[in-house]
Symmetry: C2
Subunit: 579 residues, 2 copies
């Protein structure tokens, strides 16, 4: 069989020859975003056998939850994972959401960077319009097969098969057919190779369990490859209010962003454009800007030049505005987090802190922390010599109600927990305690460190809020444990004294002939009085008090300084730090 | 000024209302890859004031070096950084490379994901066709200004201005004019805001210094904002051989990749296609495949179905092939690394280890390590109490001759250094030693952990090679330091004995009348003889010997096992591990 050995990539240029500009021109190719991500699946979290499977489940389930939230529906989601070969699985997801219309199903599931969420400032799970289409691509890449879709809206229902043309980044829809039975919602069936199911801490089961904790208004069912069916039932009685989209804040907007918005506005004057499309922009501020800039604010916003936009931004910087709207955020809420954690972890003690919404880089965000101690809190660890299971610290991280299971170390949520000096809270061996820390970060714009959306960037304002919330819960646990220990000691001491009192009473009775009972009662009264004085003294001493926000901040500042000093010691890692 | 408050994003839907599928359809938008990266500049390394500037310099300089290498030219690159306002800089880069043709200049500098490198398996600096176009985009985003380009090829020269249309991901070329004076090469002038120059370990100066170390055939000049001009002159006498592109290895290729290649091949039969476009594919292997598959290998490759491609891949998995070609790699070389490090660090001791090329996931790669001790090796640290500067460990990381200055902690190159138990090599306080470790990873396909290209993924095979190389240099340094210490002790001991011998000789002379000189000589002989026996014994004992590869591997295995035991202790970070 004679096959001629060809040069690489149909390169018309002889190998080893020096290339000039014309030669290089022949080599130029353009690539679609789908081809890019196909080559860089790690950026989508679609590498690693277990991670890829969890990411697939995550993408579909997040979309279902977002869609149900938009449509004000209690989500009912069923996830079925079937093993159909070696590292070869079929995933089925079904929801009861608003469904996808025929016109959008291709874009939603078969085109990267198409979606409703990319351009919006709103607290939502999805952001970039990559997820579900990325799964369609992975299915094609690993099995060559299309995905199957059934969608029912309030008007009609259809089924189709779909794949993606990576070269064009366009959906290819096959076998589009009306559905002959009624159906409302979205159901997807897709096959993947090179993935693996495991009921581990990074697997789909744990992902859905945590999703249920953070979305108590949802009912989520998982059917594992071995047929085990687990239903996480809803514990909330109402659907959370729909998050609202917000406008960029004048202090956070850049020249480029302002011009981009100006291009797409339907306002015909710059003044009305600014007022309509920026947060906290009032008539007084507009008057002030009108006086300072070199052009008329009646100008058509589409015609604003770069220099003019720059003038406006300069004004913004010099002016004072109310902080961005934060009422558009929808936290899970203290009560609901408590109900969730109690029903799942059955802890001995539980403390939940919800911080007030605040702002980083002009974006609204909020932090919710829950700390559960004892019961089933903490991760399962090894058994000790007596066969008793040792539990240890577990951090559950969430961003806009979505669990993050990977990239733990680089995430602000982990770093904040680790930055606390837990010995101050009476926990010398913090990592080996039966504690679950629930950390929820919610924002209109989550600063993920990668497209895989598994870790939050450690912006200063975010770290500060996280630390304050964690320290607050830390003190509450400390207080609980201190009181518990004190109570135990108190009981021990009382028992001892009482036993002693009874013996003394018998002795005195024999000596004096006085009635044993009355001697004993008198002695008991004396001992109790004495014990109470001691206990009151103890209490004043070492149980930590609740702290105000002001006090917490001071405490945080103090700790930071001490940490700073220690950190001066050389470390390998600090080579790569940026300001 | 009355401006009507509009709903967000021209959303025609009332806020707060439940949305159905049709409402959501109206919200759908498509986005270009340029818009995506504009919103995710952190994925390109273009966030952080200092990091963004270093990344800009890196993108331009890498392109220049790659182009010169292609054209077999000794690169002469000049980088000028001028401060023209508050966090506002103009960057000028000029090279003597082959230049860009008029037809390609737009794609090379004004379109994301267009380039010559995306689809090639070759040891090159650039890979994805994003870098320089990303800079054009950042310039537009932060200043609204186009970049200026002057390009001269062997045929003609021109100048132009250029910007990018993010919506379309297309270049916009303005003022294209022929150049009236002769020029060969490429010169770019671009302005950026929101960046900052600093002569720090993460800044452009250090970036270029390290680039010079790893590219000794290049002359690189930097002119800093304060006017300081530094020239890193070339120390190599020849241009490195051009790296060759290679074909995918049968063991590394996936079904999807094979089909993709089959679509673009110019071969008309599957057999000739396989032979021409896969590495190590011979006639014997083809015969074997022909016997096993269900279709005729004379089939047009463009018509291969998924199942047929799967059959071929199944054959590959069951067959034995020679390992991938590794002769296409171009290491810097032991001698050249020595010359480079000596000229820049002037170390007391220097050891360079070049491992043989090997393979991960079907891709050829190689590791070069240099360890310099003393002199100007190590990073500058604080001064001690006596005012003497304390130097400490410095790791210089390179991928395909490109320095990586960020994301230190997550990089395989750092992890490999940190994974070594340095106490075994006599370094109890390893982090505070005057040592520079130069680590060069070269491959036809570098598994970066992100598009920012600042860290290499810790694949098992890569870690193993890195560790073996580092352990090898570690032993060499240990040997050097042990010998040095022994020599010092020897000298001290000799001095002491000789002094003693002289005194004894005087005593004996007085006692016996024998000549002092002859007694002294005899005593010296005895002492020297005795010392030599002792020294020989010492030598046999604690100076580490050179090791063979086999021994090194055993040592590595042993260390790994011990480390594994220690690691079993609970740690917070391991929550996020994948298999």
């Amino acid at each position: 069989m004679a096959a001629e050995k060809k040069t690489v990539d149909d390169n018309p240029v002889e190998l080893g020859k020096a290339l000039n500009a014309d030669d290089l021109a022949k080599e130029f190719r353009e690539h679609s975003v789908a081809e890019f991500f196909k080559k860089n699946t790690q950026m989508l979290g679609l590498t690693g056998k277990i991670k890829a499977l969890t990411t697939i489940i995550h993408e579909y389930v997040s979309n279902s939850l977002d869609a149900c939230e938009e449509a004000k529906i209690f989500p009912e989601i069923e996830v079925r994972i079937s093993e159909i070969g070696d590292e070869y699985y079929e995933i089925q997801i079904k929801d009861n959401g608003p469904g996808l219309a025929k016109e959008t199903v291709g874009k939603a599931l078969g085109q990267l960077l198409a979606g409703t969420k990319f351009h919006r400032l709103i607290q939502q799970r999805g952001q970039q319009g990559i997820g579900a289409a990325g799964c369609t691509m992975l299915s094609l890449m690993t099995t060559g097969k299309p995905i199957q879709v059934v969608s029912g809206t309030s008007k009609s229902a259809f089924s189709c098969e779909m794949t993606i043309d990576p070269k064009a980044n366009q959906p290819k829809i096959l076998k589009m057919e009306p559905l002959d039975k009624p159906f409302k919602g979205l159901a997807i069936k897709a096959k993947f190779k090179g993935i693996k199911y495991q009921r581990s801490e990074n697997g789909p089961y744990e992902y859905l369990r945590r999703t249920a904790i953070a979305n108590p208004h949802a009912s989520i069912t998982i059917i594992e490859p071995d047929g085990t069916k687990t239903a996480f039932k809803k514990t909330a009685k109402r659907i959370p209010d729909k998050p609202e989209a917000t406008h960029p804040h004048p202090k956070g907007v850049t020249v480029d962003e302002l011009l981009e918005m100006a291009k797409h506005t339907s306002s015909r004057k710059t003044a009305s454009f600014l007022k309509a499309e920026l947060d906290r922009m009032g008539d007084k501020a507009l008057d002030e800007i009108a006086k300072k800039v070199s052009f008329d604010l009646n100008k058509d916003p589409a015609k604003i030049a770069w220099d003019e936009a720059e003038e406006i931004i300069k004004c913004f910087k010099a002016m004072t505005f109310i902080a961005p709207r934060t009422d558009i955020l929808r936290p899970i809420g203290e009560d609901q987090i408590k109900t969730s954690l109690e029903s799942i972890l059955k802890p001995e003690f539980l403390s939940v802190v919800e911080r007030k919404p605040t702002v980083y880089h002009g974006y609204a965000f909020q932090v919710e922390i829950g700390v559960a101690y004892g019961g089933e809190a903490g991760r399962q660890g090894a058994k000790n010599e007596d066969g008793v299971e040792q539990r240890r610290i577990e951090i559950m991280r969430f961003a806009n109600r979505v669990p993050m299971l990977f990239d733990t170390g680089g995430c602000a949520l982990t770093k904040a927990v680790q930055s606390i000096d837990w010995r101050r809270y009476g926990m010398k061996d913090f990592e080996n305690m039966p504690i679950t820390i629930f950390v929820h970060f919610l924002s209109v714009h989550i600063p993920y460190t990668g497209a895989g959306k598994q870790s939050v960037s450690d912006e200063e304002e975010i770290m500060e809020e996280l630390r304050l919330a964690i320290m607050d819960t830390g003190r509450k646990i400390y207080r609980y444990m201190s009181l518990k220990r004190r109570e135990e000691e108190k009981q021990k001491k009382r028992k001892l004294f009482m036993k002693y009192a009874t013996e003394v009473a018998i002795g005195l009775h024999e000596l004096t002939g006085e009635k044993k009972d009355s001697i004993e009662k008198k002695l008991h009264d004396i001992v109790l009085h004495r014990l109470k004085i001691d206990e009151a003294k103890d209490e004043a001493e070492d149980v930590p008090e609740e702290m105000t926000d002001e006090e917490l901040k001071k405490e945080a500042e103090k700790e930071k300084k001490e940490k700073g000093k220690k950190k001066k010691k050389s470390r390998l890692d600090d080579e790569g730090g940026d300001e």
